[in-house]
Symmetry: C2
Amino acid sequence: MVVSEAGRRIAEYPRPQADVFDQNCPSRSVLDHVTSRWGVLILDALRERPYRFNELRRRIGGVSEKMLAQTLQTLERDGFVLRDAHPVIPPRVDYSLTPLGRQAADLTDALKTWVEQHVPEVLDARDRHDARAEA
Amino acid sequence: MVVSEAGRRIAEYPRPQADVFDQNCPSRSVLDHVTSRWGVLILDALRERPYRFNELRRRIGGVSEKMLAQTLQTLERDGFVLRDAHPVIPPRVDYSLTPLGRQAADLTDALKTWVEQHVPEVLDARDRHDARAEA
DNA sequence: CGGTATCCTGAAGGATACTG
DNA sequence: CAGTATCCTTCAGGATACCG
């Protein structure tokens, strides 16, 4: 599991100064979860509206069931995603953002949007870089 | 190499609509580079000021030489980081942000800052979640 | 439908040694 | 100092099968 690493907080080491540059700081793990490969995309999708599991899977190109479930669990545990399981048959589970998750998602969305807008510049930079490398 | 996957752009598939949810869109790779484990931290560090290689290594807790070099190369290729090698002995190489890189770094910094400020809430959420799981 | 369990492979990434 | 090269380990993550 993704969450296992710095998972449980040790009682003797409670809430230290948050500093991502410190490898032992819990903020590092939170940042890792939020910026994880599928984390960003999940947060961004849920920003539109709540999604059901397979619906979300279709929305996000290339996720496997396993990674979607795993990443959702991680985000749920961190308090970013709300899992609402309806006791019906067939099962129905809705995933949505918590208020905390929405704040995070707004920031990742800003990043996503910026990236989408600047892809051409990046591709140009790559071309120039590769041209130099060949010479 | 990290950059190898969707590296070279194919002539017949030039600059499609940018959509991170499409697994074949180049924006996906750009987002992956920017949000990569060390990418965020490197961008954020260089936001303070230019850094030399080992200086940067010390600034960022837990990076190996290999990953630092690799991630720097990726970010340089994408046009986010400028590598300035001085022809002196001993060697001196300064890394800094390009204007494009600074824009990206400002966004990742917003995310980093938000995360650092909300770590306590996330840790609380984790505690509550784990408590539920045990019951 | 919405998962979990298991297995397996390729890639990420660390450690070490070496070089200009 | 600033890397590269090599080796080796870990783990992300895909495929498949099964379950409530």
